[in-house]
Symmetry: C4
Subunit: 285 residues, 4 copies
């Protein structure tokens, strides 16, 4: 079903390498990409450590240029080998990829644009694509479906927690006041959530007996209601686990089709599909 024009030929091949992972080349490309992304994130981390940056500034900058050039080539390759480039450019990953590539170029025009480098950490999300290659996918998709099923209940729960925090935070602002660090209602709400989630920094802490009493109640509340999300998720996992135990193989060895449409980049096609379920264009074999 392949179009035989040589021009589309190498584009299709490039598309298979960059966007898919069912050919050896495609797998290798994904793995190399992840390694470079991890390396680029490590670079940014090292640059942010003052005394390392002071000593090795030149080396780090050179390596930064290497990474940036690789990302630039990758970005254009992705645009070239897809039939509708705008689909990629304005997709979530397209924007992240763009923002990860430009900071070094921008830094010669705009001061402070180095801050954009941090966007690169979001490229780490591509790691989840690699997961598709390994047997962890079954587990991941099971986790995901359990969390999805619990979403409504957890939303209600978070909602109740937030309203509670606003009410208790306001109360603490009135009781404690400035001396103890409860300088405004937003700060008090922040403190309430720090306490309710049992994080407890201690940068702000109640000093009046009434404040400590209410703090105690908030803590016990937080200690108790953590049971709610836990209970919800556990029950959902339990359901999934029961279903799966009748057909164990399904759970662990999910077959994954990593083909992506060369036109619109949609994934999740059937193994025997010849056309994209989304835009109808021909798929690569």
């Amino acid at each position: 079903m392949k179009k035989d024009k040589s021009n589309t030929g190498w584009k299709n091949k490039l598309h298979e390498i960059i966007y898919e992972a069912d050919t050896p080349m495609g797998k290798w490309f994904d793995i190399i990409l992840i390694v470079i992304i991890l390396f680029s994130v490590l670079l940014i981390m090292l640059e942010s450590v003052k005394n390392i940056d002071a000593e090795y500034h030149k080396t780090l900058l050179t390596l930064e240029w290497v990474v940036t050039i690789f990302f630039t080539i990758e970005y254009f390759a992705r645009i070239i080998c897809i039939k509708k480039p705008t689909k990629y450019i304005f997709s979530f990953y397209g924007i992240i990829d763009f923002l990860s590539t430009i900071p070094l170029y921008l830094s010669y025009i705009l001061a402070g644009s180095q801050v954009l480098l941090a966007v690169r950490a979001f490229r780490l999300l591509r790691v989840f694509r690699i997961l598709k290659l390994v047997q962890f996918l079954g587990e991941a998709s099971q986790l995901k479906s359990a969390l999805k099923a619990s979403r409504a209940k957890i939303t209600v729960f978070l909602f109740a927690v937030l309203i509670l925090s606003v009410m208790l935070g306001t109360l603490m602002y009135i009781i404690e006041g400035d001396e103890a660090g409860f300088t405004s209602i937003p700060t008090s709400i922040y403190w309430t959530i720090v306490t309710l989630t049992t994080v407890g920094y201690g940068d702000i802490a109640p000093i009046t007996p009434q404040g400590q009493l209410i703090a105690t109640i908030i803590m016990l509340l937080g200690y108790g209601i953590i049971a709610v999300p836990t209970g919800i998720v556990t029950v959902e996992f339990g359901k999934r686990s029961k279903k799966a135990s009748g057909d164990e193989s399904v759970e662990h060895f999910v077959h994954v089709n990593t083909q992506a449409c060369p036109t619109c980049a949609k994934e999740g096609h059937r193994d025997d599909a010849t056309h994209c379920y989304n835009c109808g264009s021909l798929l690569n074999e």
Copy 2:
């Protein structure tokens, strides 16, 4: 079944808008009310931030007056369109509504009455009424019933935790004393709960080896016994989930009648009810 006197007519209509949510107007009123409540809470928050208040004091005061006037009108409308106003005035929501409305008026008579503004945060509880309109209700009522069923067990648990905290707090007061911040038994108990719930502010921390040993035991205890409320709630959720799975539709699409009695404001009537189950007076159609 409607009384045809024109006077009661517009009162009934107003009642339907303000107290109920099954007409488009009623729904819109509820949504607008929630938006204004959220806005009024945001106003109080901004006023509590010193440098924002210093700069925009006049704007904030004007907006405060707008909100107060809206709340005043709403409050009187609620009283007018109900047949037994005292039922509303002395209800939980009636008192909250009243206290949320008066602070600005009071501030011209009494100094410090601004503190009452914080009561307004409790109006956020009306948000839960909005939930009735959406499909989250099923989830919320399921959570509620599970927590209700666990109540007795959790009370016993909290009771045991409190007695334990008093005993361990007293012990720590004797061992550590003033230097480490354990200045009195109530403070020591406060510290024990901070530790047991794994909040751990660090404003007070043991410094003697014996104190640190007992602190270690308290932490491990707290780390372990969090299993108890979690276990209780999880089991209750599990039960509910099993029941519901036989009749999935019941769980998620609970039909909700939002009619409220025009006389006594009770809710929860049957769809085919013509009289209030509480006071026997006629319901609006």
Copy 3:
């Protein structure tokens, strides 16, 4: 079956009031006792707050004497009305009762004996006896049996946590050293448990990159392995809940026989028992 000698008669009656709770008098005695114990604990708390003690020292001392005299009378009454006083005197409660009574007397002989007052907090354990009177008992005994069944697993878990803490604590001592507050191995182990249980005071915190890396691992470990006790207890609750659901009444309305043997003070007799199952002596009717 009562012995009719008048001497034993009032002793039996007193025994019924003090040790049992199935007569109205017995119930009242238990409730009054708990109120006085709660009051005595409150007294000790107030005494420990410096500025309250400074102002109301005389009042507090008088009330302390009232409580002490009540406790003294109660202690002797308990000894008189039991047939084998040593069984009570050397029982757990007997020792607690004795230690709760003597501090004020001792304070005239020995300095610093006031510290013993704190023992009184342990008298709060009598509250659990009151629980026998109410419907919470079913819940409490269910919790207790679930925790008992999980005991072996939780012991293994705590054991592993302790060994892990010793190993990681030693490691952190070597890495961080004195500057960061890791002054000795015991202190390092204390810090490890503070971190592992997610308490996190912050009085000691790693400052070197390697130390922070290991701290991160300890935190993620602690965050993850809390699942273990929770899982154990949840499964036990689940088992109990399933058994109980077949016979709901058993769970919630456990019949409790509060008779105590007048000779050896053992509890837990059958309703139709005429003799103590432990020592064989006659029970009060």
Copy 4:
């Protein structure tokens, strides 16, 4: 099946005592060894406390020599009585045993080698061998198998948590900057994990409103997603518990064969085995 040469005779006996635990002598050896290991760990702890070391330096050093000599003898005995000593020497325990023995000898040659003493804490792992003797084994192996089954899911979860921490940590570094203590991206990631796991030291804490907002989100996230590992492990425990309940005896009284191959030190032989399943050599009777 025993080889009758007297030379191998005492070696076999020694092997049975040191490596196995099904003879009274073997049990006693294991118990004494654990006591000495615990004592040696206690010694290192005491040495690390400055004022204890200052006062009792000589006593501690003497005891240290006693322990070292015992460990030396044990180490050589282990080598002598096994047929292939290299199997032991390069095994995990062999290396730990060696490193636990040499520090005192080394301290006369190399300064600072005392640090190696801390390795001795790892000898505590031998405690788990003692567990084989007691009925806790059943529980331990059940815990272990449940954790093993959850491994894949928990790996995916930890992976997601780490990526999330890198992204959020980078974000916080940009928002907060140096003043609040977010001096570099690695430090920010460290703070993110401290917050996400609800440890919350408070050595670093956000001070800008935006930073506090994101911190709040991180906390609620951490508070919520702890449900994931808990749910996974609970479901696994539940499965195991259900299987076991049909055959309760299996769970609690696991028969343990503590024989170890005299040639390659492998454990886990069948009771009726005469040859090692690993290297095929004869087992002691």
